[in-house]
């Protein structure tokens, strides 16, 4: 790759504008094809049988009656899938989660599957499958699972990251630690200390579209999978590896996506659909119900976090310490580790230590959820910071400004920051009219900061110029949050043509090189970098073709505003050639014109945000109403500002829901009590005010346009911002999320 990704100042003509989205018409007219909208001739309906038990040995599965039911074309259990017991442990866990091999590890764990000619038959067949369970004691609470006498979920788990290695297994799969300085010495010097324990309940991403796919495995060993996913290349890799297929023989096409937020970065039912299709010899469509999505996809961790922060009289934080316990479902994970990395990332700290514990519980496998693990850590830390500011006697914004990380600060998780946005977002909040607006009775205001790393990763992009001079851009990062519009803008910017001349599509896995999935806020960051690189490669060819048409040396041809320009006095009188003219002549100047790019997009700039929330609490019922909400976040460079604002608002909306009402509720029997949107309460439109946004642009030095990822940071501050607002409204520190009305009322009466 001969491409310099570093940022240089420039003026933009397309980037930064707000054209209408290219996927808009299809979506509002119902023509967009989502996961469940793909169909094939002769397709069967796949359904999965799930464990009603939180923890049980599977003694025996008798599928004979189901197999004999007319209309049933395949019945599947783990016995039909490759046994990865002696292979890669991570792959074993993924497959075991898709279809339990020895034990059912949570309510909803898949134990068998059928493919039948229609949904009714498939449903009937599931009832005919006889599973013999031997019930085991279960544990669903993170603190109870952490306790030494807890029921053991996996006897091969010995805590890693501790020395010496423990001599007996436990539910703690890993301990991680970050920080620098001497925390104990620092704390001893503190004039004020806040020490608190916080708890957050498990939440689901709550995407509107359930997981859905159509799998078609042909007898010649080739296969197709149409699926709703955030990363079709990753799905291909995982499915092929799990089922013993050649990756290149499996073509995966991603559908439009009705939300993912991290939940569609993992395979759930897709390997099962492929295995059913392989067994039945017919295409199989598998669509999860909402109940299945809640019980058996990948919600985020429940957490329990201890925080201790000390400050000097002058407002300097002298020491910061946190211990974070995150549930990771019944398999080893690395979620507390991320929480431990992000917890204090907003601050410049001499002495800081965070310790994370990954805790196995009998709940569905934890998956990524928008800035995974960061919101809970921020809730704990930003709540404690707020309380500490009060103790010191400083305004919470000023206190944070005093301690904010800057360029050159060594982050609590290791690296040294480049130019960053935490200080500027705090200054913007300090000067925001929202901070000065008056509050009424029973109302409170809270603010909080948040951090997210952002990610780059492997990216492959093709830019093809048609004979008519219009441009097709094929990318491999699934468009979750509007990247097709943004990437069309970037291609138009680089080539110097109009946005309307570019169409961006998401290519399938057989037509592009490998792409990492759309996670880590990487879609627009990495694919725009690859698009700039591809466009520059295309421009090089366009210049060559123009030089050929003019019969002058290519070094004398420059590219300006969509045209080849002959430079220098010798060629000064040649009229410039447009992209259209060069494209029209391409058949006689060497054939099609295209630019390709294969990169690892390094240098994703870290992202910071500060949020403000006003809330009113009914002291008699504990009911809350969010009155006003403001998001201030650094975008690096907002390619399509409307989409950026949408990301800010969306993250805030999800965070508010998490803060106030969303939670997985388990019964004593270890079963999920609220596997539906009636009792898993995400906010509806009328629950939220218009969320105001302010975009700051502190360029990322590692991207040609200065772009940073914007998708995730917005969900990091809300838990804390809302909790600080409620605490200020009622005068009691809220320690448990969600702050549902019964919890608020109980806190008021405690």
């Amino acid at each position: 790759m001969n491409f310099d990704p570093s940022h240089s100042k420039r003026s933009f003509s397309s980037v930064g504008t707000r054209p209408i989205r290219p996927d808009g018409v299809d979506k509002v007219t119902g023509r967009a094809r989502y996961g469940a909208d793909f169909n094939m001739p002769g397709q069967l309906v796949g359904r999965i049988l799930r464990s009603p038990h939180a923890h049980a040995i599977i003694r025996k599965i008798d599928t004979s009656k189901a197999a004999q039911l007319p209309g049933v074309k395949a019945v599947l259990t783990a016995a039909d899938l490759p046994d990865l017991t002696n292979g890669d442990a991570a792959m074993y866990d993924i497959l075991d989660n898709c279809m339990a091999r020895k034990k059912a590890l949570y309510d909803g764990h898949a134990v068998a599957a059928v493919a039948a000619i229609d949904a009714r038959t498939a449903k009937q067949a599931l009832k005919l499958i006889e599973v013999e369970y031997e019930l085991l004691p279960h544990v669903t609470d993170v603190d109870q699972a952490f306790a030494p006498d807890a029921p053991l979920i996996n006897d091969t788990i010995f805590t890693t990251g501790v020395d010496p290695k423990p001599d007996r297994p436990s539910n703690v799969s890993m301990r991680s630690q970050f920080g620098h300085g001497d925390v104990d010495a620092g704390m001893a010097r503190a004039d004020f200390v806040v020490e608190r324990t916080f708890k957050t309940e498990q939440t689901h991403q709550g995407y509107i579209e359930p997981h859905a796919c159509v799998a078609n495995v042909c007898s010649d060993g080739t296969a197709d999978l149409w699926v709703c996913t955030q990363g079709h290349f990753v799905y291909r890799q995982h499915c092929a590896e799990l089922l013993g297929m050649d990756a290149s023989k499996l073509r995966v096409t991603s559908s439009e996506i009705g939300g993912g937020f991290g939940g569609k970065t993992h395979v759930w039912a897709e390997p099962v659909a492929l295995a059913l299709s392989r067994k039945a010899g017919r295409p199989v469509k598998l669509v999860m119900t909402r109940d299945e999505v809640f019980r058996a996809s990948g919600p985020t961790s429940a957490t329990s976090i201890d925080v201790k922060i000390g400050a000097l009289k002058d407002g300097t934080i002298i020491a910061a310490d946190a211990t974070l316990r995150y549930s990771c479902g019944p398999y080893a994970g690395a979620w507390a580790e991320v929480g431990a990395m992000t917890a204090f990332a907003c601050y410049k700290l001499e002495n800081v230590r965070t310790v994370g514990y990954e805790v196995l519980v009998n709940r569905p496998k934890t998956a990524a959820y928008r800035a995974p693990s960061a919101p809970m850590a921020a809730f704990a830390v930003e709540s404690a910071i707020d309380e500490l500011a009060k103790k010191v006697g400083m305004d919470p914004v000023d206190f944070r400004i005093r301690n904010a990380a800057q360029e050159g600060t060594k982050a609590s998780y290791g690296p040294v920051y480049g130019p960053i946005g935490i200080g500027p977002t705090l200054e913007a909040v300090k000067n925001h009219p929202h901070m000065k607006a008056p509050l009424g009775k029973n109302q409170g205001r809270g603010m909080a900061c948040g951090f997210w790393f952002n990610f780059g990763g492997q990216t492959c992009t093709d830019l093809n110029i048609g004979i008519d001079g219009t441009v097709s851009l094929a990318v491999g990062t699934v468009d979750v949050g509007g990247s097709r519009a943004s990437l069309s803008l970037v291609a138009a910017e680089e080539l110097g043509i109009d946005y309307s001349q570019v169409r961006t599509v998401i290519a399938d896995t057989s037509t592009l090189g490998y792409n990492d999935m759309t996670d880590g806020s990487r879609g627009t960051f990495s694919s725009s970098m690859a698009t700039i690189s591809a466009a520059r490669n295309a421009i090089k060819i366009l210049r060559e073709r123009a030089a050929q048409m003019w019969d002058i040396p290519v070094e004398d041809v420059t590219w300006e505003k969509g045209h080849a320009v002959a430079k220098g006095e010798t060629h000064g009188n040649l009229p410039k050639l447009s992209l259209k003219e060069i494209a029209a002549a391409s058949g006689t100047t060497g054939g099609p014109i295209a630019g390709h790019s294969e990169i690892v997009a390094d240098g994703a700039g870290v992202s910071f945000a500060t949020h403000i929330c006003d809330i009113e609490v009914d002291p008699e019922t504990g009911a809350t109403k969010v009155l006003r909400y403001t998001v201030v976040q650094d975008a690096g460079k907002a390619v399509h500002p409307t989409y950026v604002e949408g990301q800010y608002q969306g993250g805030a909306a999800q965070g508010i829901g998490w803060a106030l009402n969303e939670e997985y509720i388990y019964g004593k029997d270890g079963r999920l009590q609220n596997a539906g949107f009636l009792d898993y309460r995400i906010p509806v439109c009328s629950d939220l005010p218009m969320i105001d946004t302010q975009i700051l642009e502190i360029p990322n030095p590692n991207h040609p346009y200065g772009v940073r990822g914007v998708g995730e940071t917005s969900i990091v501050p809300p838990l804390a911002a809302v909790a600080n607002a409620v605490s200020n409204a009622v005068g009691v520190r809220m320690l448990h999320i969600p702050m549902s009305p019964p919890r608020i009322l109980a806190a008021l009466e405690a």
Binding site: K123, D291, E620, T621, G622, A623, L660, N661, I665, Q673, N674, F677, L678, D679, R681, P683, V684, S686, D687, S740, P741, P742, L745, A746
Partner: protein, 286 residues
């Protein structure tokens, strides 16, 4: 599974008798379809009563209102006379689900679904509404609170259909009100709810009252002690405090995913006070 859309109530009852317990009645479907989709019930026959013209109207007479079993809740909200006479009943019906759901769902369906948290039932109970029931043995009329006997269970005999809900003609200086507690503003289900219906004498003193609580017992509760506290009062602060205590005390609630025993007890009292005041103000304006 069969689907039939009879055009007369007699036909519907005939089909219901014939199916001997394996049929379900479809009006709005906002409970039935959800229960079918969730796999809780698998009826062999669906009897859609929306084509029965007699069930599709709200009629007002000398005796009061007759609300047909197939009238969607949204239509209750559009009926000015009903809204004027029984605002509490209408506000209960217009809190169910969302605007879209209200365009389908019916108060009879809400009653027969027999959820203790049904939004339209407490106000109907407070209003002293009656259910007109038709069955193979003819017609009978019972108080609405006699219809549900426990969660998901009604007192209807095999082959019986509720034809209409009957509301008395409104007395002067009367008012009713309903409020529920939900964490969300809509698309939610009552954690606790309360309805009060009262009539004042010409001095502004409560002459008669009925108080009902939802979601605090296996069925909607008619709290007679609370009604006695209101009767003879001007709904002053002291009365309201006693009312709240009586309502909290009447709760036979459970801890579940929607709320705790303690929360329901407390909020039942809070809501009772709020609806009593609202009903009192409405009564005073007439």
């Amino acid at each position: 599974m069969r689907y039939i859309r009879p055009s007369s109530l007699e036909d519907a009852i005939g089909l219901l008798v014939e199916a001997s317990g394996k049929a379900a009645i479809l009006a709005g479907g906002s409970d039935l379809l959800v229960r079918m989709k969730g796999g809780f019930i698998e009826p062999e026959l669906i009897i859609d009563i929306k084509a029965i013209d007699a069930l599709r109207h709200i009629t007002e007479s000398e005796d009061g209102f007759v609300i047909g079993a197939a009238v969607p809740c949204a239509v209750l909200g559009e009926n000015a006379a009903l809204r004027r006479a029984w605002p509490g009943v209408v506000e209960g019906a217009n809190l169910i689900g969302s605007k879209q759901v209200q365009g389908r769902c019916t108060i009879v369906g809400n009653l027969c679904n027999a959820s203790p948290a049904a939004d339209s039932v407490p106000a109907l109970v407070a209003a002293g509404a009656k259910a007109l029931i038709r069955g193979p043995a003819g017609s009978r009329t019972i108080a609405v609170e006699m219809v549900p006997v426990g969660p998901g269970k009604t007192s209807l005999a095999p082959g019986e259909i509720i034809e209409a809900i009957l509301l008395d003609k409104r007395q002067p200086r009367s008012g009713d009100a309903y409020q529920r507690f939900t964490p969300r503003t809509e698309m939610d289900i009552a954690v606790v709810s309360a309805a009060v219906n009262l009539t004042l004498d010409d001095q502004g003193v409560v002459q008669s009252a009925r108080v009902a609580l939802g979601a605090v017992a296996p069925t909607v509760l008619l709290v007679e002690e609370a009604a006695e506290i209101l009767t003879g009062s001007r709904v002053d602060d002291k009365t309201l405090d006693r009312l709240a205590a009586a309502c909290s005390g009447a709760c036979r609630s459970i801890d579940d995913k929607r709320g705790t025993v303690e929360f329901r007890r407390k909020v039942a009292g809070v809501l009772a006070k709020r609806v009593a005041l609202a009903a009192y103000q409405r009564a005073g304006q007439k």
